[in-house]
């Protein structure tokens, strides 16, 4: 097959994944909506009817993950390089990492309730990627040709996926906390985990990716050293990577050494996650500096 064929194949795989995510979205929506319908008192749920729908959602998301993986691989084959050269490619790989993080958390911590927000987030990401950010597949400029690029970017993307997942959970924490302090959870939220479990889960995820993010930043520095002659230059992208790192370090510190839990910790986590998003969106598109590879 030619490069162009692989590029088409990659695009089809993206469209297919989007269809699967849409199905998953509806499956999870039905799961949430119909476990409410058939209860007279708020405390009695009948999950047996909606369990099937939830299972379908999970299967769809796992399938979609496979398609996304294929899309990313085909993209790489078509361009003869690792598929992380512009913002379109970062976005599809980011969606892959995010979905992967969800599946991992699903297997490890039973977080199926996250299926709905995950499906929405991925659909939005892929939608923007394929409409606004799309660029034809092409080789890399010389500065991007490095093994360290592959290592740095893949570590950063995976970290990003997990950061966003942690943010979803922290946000859920804050919303539910709000309801609980006002008297009680609404019916749709009754089957979500306890606040304490959400708090623990957020911490677990952050503690898990913090070393990876540290590694991503260091790999970036090593790459910068070989491409630009300095390992750290306070380029806007580097500055914000540092800020993200400091923010998550502060989160870990606040928990472990100062004993922050719950609301304060969740806000700190959201703040840290938003510095990552800011770096990705703002600095890539509107920023100046050596890191503007968005291709826009």
């Amino acid at each position: 097959m030619t490069s162009t064929n692989y590029a088409y194949l990659s695009n089809y795989a993206i469209y297919s994944a989007m269809v699967l995510f849409t199905v998953a979205f509806f499956a999870h929506a039905i799961e949430v909506a119909f476990s409410l319908r058939n209860l007279e008192e708020k405390t009695k749920f009948d999950f047996s009817r909606t369990k099937r729908s939830g299972d379908i959602g999970t299967v769809m998301i796992v399938l979609a993950f496979v398609f996304l993986l294929a899309a990313v691989i085909f993209r790489g084959i078509s361009a003869h390089r690792v598929p992380w050269g512009n913002m379109y490619e970062f976005s599809i790989t980011g969606a892959l990492a995010f979905t992967g993080a969800y599946i991992f958390a699903l297997w490890k911590y039973k977080v199926r309730w996250l299926g709905l927000p995950v499906a929405i987030a991925v659909l939005l990401t892929l939608g923007t990627a394929i409409t606004i950010l799309y660029r034809p597949s092409a080789p890399l400029v010389p500065a991007l040709k490095s093994t360290w690029l592959a290592i740095h970017v893949s570590a950063a993307i995976v970290s990003g996926g997990v950061f966003l997942l942690a943010n979803c959970i922290a946000a859920t924490y804050l919303i539910l906390d709000r309801y609980e302090s006002k008297g009680g959870r609404p019916t749709w939220a009754l089957k979500l985990p306890t606040l304490e479990a959400l708090d623990q889960l957020t911490y677990r995820l952050v503690a898990f990716v913090f070393p990876l993010w540290t590694f991503a930043v260091i790999a970036g520095a090593i790459w910068a050293e070989s491409a630009w002659g300095r390992y750290w230059g306070w380029d806007p992208k580097e500055t914000w990577a540092f800020i993200t790192w400091v923010a998550y370090a502060a989160y870990l510190h606040a928990r472990v050494t100062v004993g922050w839990r719950g609301r304060k910790a969740a806000w700190l986590c959201l703040f840290a996650g938003s510095t990552f998003l800011f770096n990705y969106v703002y600095i890539n598109i509107w920023g100046t500096g050596k890191h503007t590879y968005s291709g826009l």
Partner: protein, 485 residues
């Protein structure tokens, strides 16, 4: 009086030290450092983009002056930024060193005594079966450190957590030391050389050079680099560069044996702690300029600077030896095209159909005024324009006062030469930091106690997990089960 005030100073100093090295201060300093880094990403920085800074000054002079007083254009070398990280550095040392010594002592010590009342602990259980011997066997099998007393065992596991944590924080100090060494003893410079030319590492060979605060000009390592070939490859469709390859002959001492090497964007040349990077490239047109009588007044290559991705390049040619003096403002266009909107421009970065566009000026070049001038620009304030021409390869233009011939071109490369003796420590620190982090975040630290109950008919078991990491409960279950068998 004198004594009490001395005591006061001393105790307030001690108070200050304790405040500075407290966890809360460290946390605040850490957050402050993050906040302080933000303005540097919003305003242009002199160290990265001096042109943008001067543009900013031109468009908002008032604001710029005010911002400049706050060091907003040199954030990362400003006194306030430096003071935050120096304070953080001190705080880190003050907190981590004592803990390290304590930890080292703790390695040899036995676990602490078993507490009196185990039933106040988490995960307290009682078991009718079991003996201390069986418990001890289980602890040994699972690599706990144990303290066996007459009727109890105190066991501890997860020392790696604190070890890793300390290693991580000590590594941060090492990274900061590396950064400091680099900025004190490093050096950085740029030199543009034409292919075919030789660069000798002395201060005068550089276009720009800056030294670390404790570094002198004399300590440049004595190497030489001759650029023998440069090849740039581009994507046919987009003109985007796909590879740059510079071939050089290098000698570790000037006049020493030359060795051929290849430099690419991601693979620099190395001379000890000095590295040479390929940073940019462009074209130098080759021209011959004659006076009215036909005598050659200038012949050679002139470096032009690229203005866009297709390497439309501009520069100045100055001929002070002619009377009156003559200067040219030029554009070199590697692959020529022209339209009514953009005028002449290049459509591809390789030289396929070159042109040299010149405007010709006579008068005073201003080279004797004593004010330093850019070699890439012509100061035409006291000159008169006498012509505007587009030359093809080998074409000659006669402009009355003399003639100019477009003979050819040579590629040039920009070498960035950096000496950073601290880099290796920063890298080492980074690697150790990751290892420490992994060890600390993925080790569970916990204590388990087993005690014979008062009438010796069974045992009491209890545990404590640091940072309430999960998993202890199942561990205790397995211990109890083992004792039962």
């Amino acid at each position: 009086m004198a004594i009490t005030s001395e005591l006061d100073t001393r105790s307030s100093l001690r108070w200050l030290w304790r405040q500075l090295t407290s966890m809360r201060t460290a946390l605040i300093l850490l957050l402050l450092l993050g906040l302080a880094a933000i303005p540097g990403s919003l305003f242009p920085q002199r160290s990265q983009n001096p042109l943008k800074v001067s543009d900013f000054f031109k468009s908002n002079p008032g604001t710029a002056k005010f911002l400049d007083q706050l060091n907003m254009f040199d954030v990362y070398s400003s006194p306030w930024f430096s003071s935050i990280y120096i304070l953080l550095f001190i705080s880190l040392i003050g907190c981590v060193l004592p803990r390290t010594f304590e930890h080292l002592k703790g390695i040899r010590a036995k676990p602490p005594l078993t507490p009196k009342n185990l039933n106040r602990m988490e995960f307290f259980t009682e078991s009718e079966f079991g003996s201390l011997d069986k418990a001890e066997a289980w602890f040994k099998k699972h690599h706990f450190r144990i303290r066996r007393d007459a009727n109890s065992i105190s066991a501890e596991k997860g020392f790696m957590r604190e070890t890793g944590n300390l290693l991580f924080h000590l590594s941060l100090i090492l990274i900061l030391v590396g950064v400091a060494l680099g900025s004190l003893f490093g050096m950085k410079g740029d030199a543009i050389i034409n292919v075919g030319e030789r660069f000798i590492n002395t201060p005068t060979s550089y276009d720009v050079i800056s030294y670390g605060k404790l570094q002198s000009e004399k300590s440049l390592s004595p190497f030489s680099i001759t650029a023998t070939d440069f090849k740039a490859s581009y994507e046919l469709k987009t003109g985007a560069p796909s590879d740059y390859k510079l071939t050089v002959n290098v000698a570790n001492s000037v006049g020493g044996k030359e060795v051929s090497k290849v430099v690419r964007v991601n693979s620099p040349l190395t001379f000890g702690t000095t590295k040479v990077y390929l940073q940019a490239n462009g074209y130098s047109p080759l021209v011959t300029i004659r006076d009215k009588s036909g005598e050659i007044k200038f012949q050679g290559t002139v470096i032009f600077l690229p203005q866009d991705g297709n390497l439309t390049s501009t520069g100045a040619i100055k001929v002070p030896d002619m009377k009156p003096q003559v200067g040219f403002v030029g554009s070199f266009i590697p692959t020529y095209a022209r339209n009514s909107v953009r005028g002449a421009f290049s459509t591809y970065p390789e030289v396929l159909d070159p042109r040299l566009l010149i405007s010709i000026w006579t008068g005073d070049l201003g080279l004797d005024s004593g004010i330093p001038q850019s070699v890439y620009r012509l100061d035409t304030s006291v000159m008169k324009r006498i012509g505007l021409e587009t030359l093809k390869l080998h074409e000659t233009n006669n402009f009355g006062e003399g003639s100019i011939t477009f003979e050819g071109w040579t590629p040039w490369v920009n070498l960035q030469i950096v000496k950073d003796p601290g880099k290796i420590y920063a890298l080492l620190g980074a690697i150790l930091a990751i290892l420490g982090l992994l060890a600390s975040l993925f080790t569970r630290s916990r204590r388990i106690w087993v005690k014979e109950n008062s009438n010796k008919t069974g045992v009491e078991v209890a545990g404590l997990a640091k940072n309430s990491t999960p998993g202890l409960e199942s561990e205790i279950d397995s211990l109890v089960k083992e004792m039962r068998e």
